[in-house]
């Protein structure tokens, strides 16, 4: 007798399956380590364990030197550029997580509700959706930063406001596909409530869509911070990659490369790693690809 086909065993949850598949790719593993390193920097920053980015470590605009704090030189106030780049990483991770934490649950919940209930719920969600997608992103972001005042919080809300719509649309479509399937009908026939059907039955089967788009939202937030901060709509004080790059224009004319080189490298690694993980997640989670 041959062994039972592998499919006969209890299926592992799709998320675990996906994680295992990711571990088998060395390139994706490296990218996961890079993202983990940024997460570590952010956690250290939140716990105030990073070196103080506001403290002077040398003279004004010292050139780079073989010492950790002055590896990328110092800025006009004598502060370590490297510490400021790290603090900027902390800001970027904060913005990325906050934006994702706002956009993903909102988009998922509205998508579930619109797809599951249909009728007037769907009509209302669709109206809100059509209003939000009709306003060009940059104008919606401008309007929200006017209403809430400029700063980190309003930027997170603004980027989230432009990105929940995509998630909502995708989740709604997936829910419509699953709503009539046998496993949902079976659960309904034993008396499962609407909430249970949506969150315990349908959600686990559509969550892969959410995970893939979550990485896109993270990316949009990290990239968006730099542009919006430069335009004067984003971070106003403290350390951020946007402020560092915006200041670098002046530095370049004085042949100072440290802040630009440091920030570009730090941003490149994070964005590259995140997009590679996003692509890999899509490969392993989305049945339509590969």
């Amino acid at each position: 007798m041959s062994a039972l086909p592998a499919t006969m065993g209890a299926p592992r949850p799709a998320a675990l399956e996906a994680l295992a598949a990711l571990w088998r790719r060395p390139h994706t593993c490296a990218c996961l380590l890079v993202v983990a390193a940024y997460a570590l920097v952010a956690v250290l920053g939140w716990l105030h364990l990073l070196p103080d980015a506001e403290a002077a470590v040398g003279g004004a605009q010292d050139p780079p030197a073989w010492h950790l704090a002055t590896l990328l030189g110092t800025d006009l106030l004598g502060r370590s550029v490297l510490w400021r780049v790290l603090a900027g990483a902390q800001t970027a991770v904060t913005i990325g997580l906050a934006t994702t934490a706002l956009a993903v649950p909102l988009g998922t919940a509205l998508g579930l509700a619109a797809g599951y209930f249909g009728g007037w719920v769907d009509a209302v969600v669709d109206w809100v959706y059509s209003v939000v997608v009709s306003v060009p992103d940059i104008l919606l972001i401008t309007a929200i930063s006017y209403a809430m005042g400029k700063g980190l919080a309003s930027m997170c809300v603004a980027i989230a406001a432009t990105s929940w719509v995509g998630i909502m649309r995708l989740v709604r479509g997936e829910v419509l596909k699953h709503k009539g399937s046998d496993y949902v009908l079976a659960a309904r026939s034993v008396g499962a409530s609407a909430g249970r059907l949506m969150f315990s039955e349908i959600l686990p089967n559509v969550v892969h869509v959410t995970i893939v788009t979550a990485t896109l939202v993270l990316l949009a937030a990290v990239k968006g911070e730099v542009i919006l901060t430069y335009l004067g709509l984003g971070i106003q004080e403290g350390a951020s990659w946007g402020l560092l790059i915006a200041g670098a224009a002046q530095d370049l004319t004085n042949d100072i490369w440290g802040p630009l080189a440091g920030t570009v490298t730090a941003m490149f690694l994070l964005i590259y790693a995140l997009s590679a993980i996003g692509d890999a997640l899509r490969d392993v989670l989305d049945p339509r690809v590969g």
């Binding site: 809100v128 209003v131 009709s134 104008l139 790059i245 570009v264």
Partner: protein, 310 residues
């Protein structure tokens, strides 16, 4: 067709109403007081009341909203709070400048990128394709702001090929626009070529492509005569929906190179609390997006006989 257009326009009315409501709430109900922004912290109560009356901000909010709706319907957005200029003239001038910044790289880039994507599709999975894929992924991981900064430094500051920033009307604008054009061309390449390559390759194993190959068509002929004509539809879709964003202008380019387009106008209005400009740009941007989405659907039906409008 006519009935379809009428129905789509009617469907757009609740959307535009929602946009107006959202815009009004964000700027008039939740935003900071523009009178305070204009007069500062030491203004007298009387001066503030006067200005508030002059700007029509002393009316109850529902009445202000009705005024705003009337402005949207009549396309008359009144005058700027700060300069007192007529907004229609100001926005028209700004839109033309924005278009002159974004339209040339959009058109030229479209042609060049389709050509490059065809070339890459011709050599798919070969060295060119792999190198291009790696290069684009790496290039797209760098912030757009860095390209703007680095190219301005290198080409304008160091090599002195272009003016560093600024703008003049008429033909002399070309001198100032050349560098922003070049930068936008480069920024468009990565995303565009990746999209077009994917579109071309999606059809590569279709039955009708295999038939063409079986009849002895060369790889180049297959791409140009069989794959490309079909891919035009998604390419048009991609590009028509981008047009409203061209009118809006590239906020980043205009800000960086001090070009007086819609983007610069909006950001200046934001710091001055010039609500009429902000509200007009937001609503007009949304109207343009709605209109071009409709146009896009109509073009789709014209280009693809399988699409029935109903």
């Amino acid at each position: 067709m006519g009935a379809y257009v009428v129905r789509r326009v009617l469907q757009a009315i609740p959307t535009v109403f929602g946009v107006a409501l959202l815009t009004f709430l964000l700027f008039n109900a939740f935003g900071p007081d523009p009178v305070r922004t204009a007069l500062g912290n030491h203004a007298t109560v009387e001066a503030m009341a006067n200005l508030r009356h002059q700007w029509g901000l002393d009316k109850p909010l529902p009445l202000q909203f009705v005024d705003f709706l009337r402005q949207i319907v009549t396309f008359d957005y009144g005058t700027s709070f700060v300069t007192g200029d007529d907004l229609g003239t100001q926005l028209k001038a700004g839109a033309l400048v924005s278009l002159s910044v974004t339209l040339p790289p959009f058109l030229f880039g479209g042609i060049v990128n389709v050509a490059i994507a065809l070339f890459i599709a011709r050599h798919r999975d070969g060295l060119v394709d792999k190198a291009a894929r790696g290069l684009f992924i790496a290039a797209m991981s760098i912030s757009a702001l860095v390209y703007v900064l680095a190219l301005q430094y290198l080409l304008a500051f160091k090599l002195d090929w272009f003016p560093i920033n600024g703008y003049e009307g008429g033909w002399s604008a070309v001198r100032y626009l050349a560098l922003p054009w070049l930068i936008q061309l480069l920024l468009l390449m990565g995303p565009d070529i990746r999209l077009y390559r994917a579109l071309f390759l999606a059809d590569m194993n279709a039955d009708w492509v295999r038939t063409a190959r079986a009849k002895g068509a060369s790889e180049g002929r297959v791409l140009l005569r069989h794959v490309l004509p079909n891919a035009w539809i998604p390419i048009i879709t991609q590009n028509v929906t981008t047009i409203p964003f061209l009118i809006l202008g590239s906020f980043l380019m205009e800000r960086f190179f001090s070009i007086p387009g819609i983007g610069n106008l909006t950001i200046d209005a934001l710091s001055r609390g010039d609500l009429p400009i902000l509200k007009a740009v937001t609503v007009l941007g949304a109207l343009a997006l709605v209109a071009f989405n409709l146009l896009n659907d109509l073009l789709y039906a014209v280009a693809d006989p399988r699409v029935r409008l109903s």
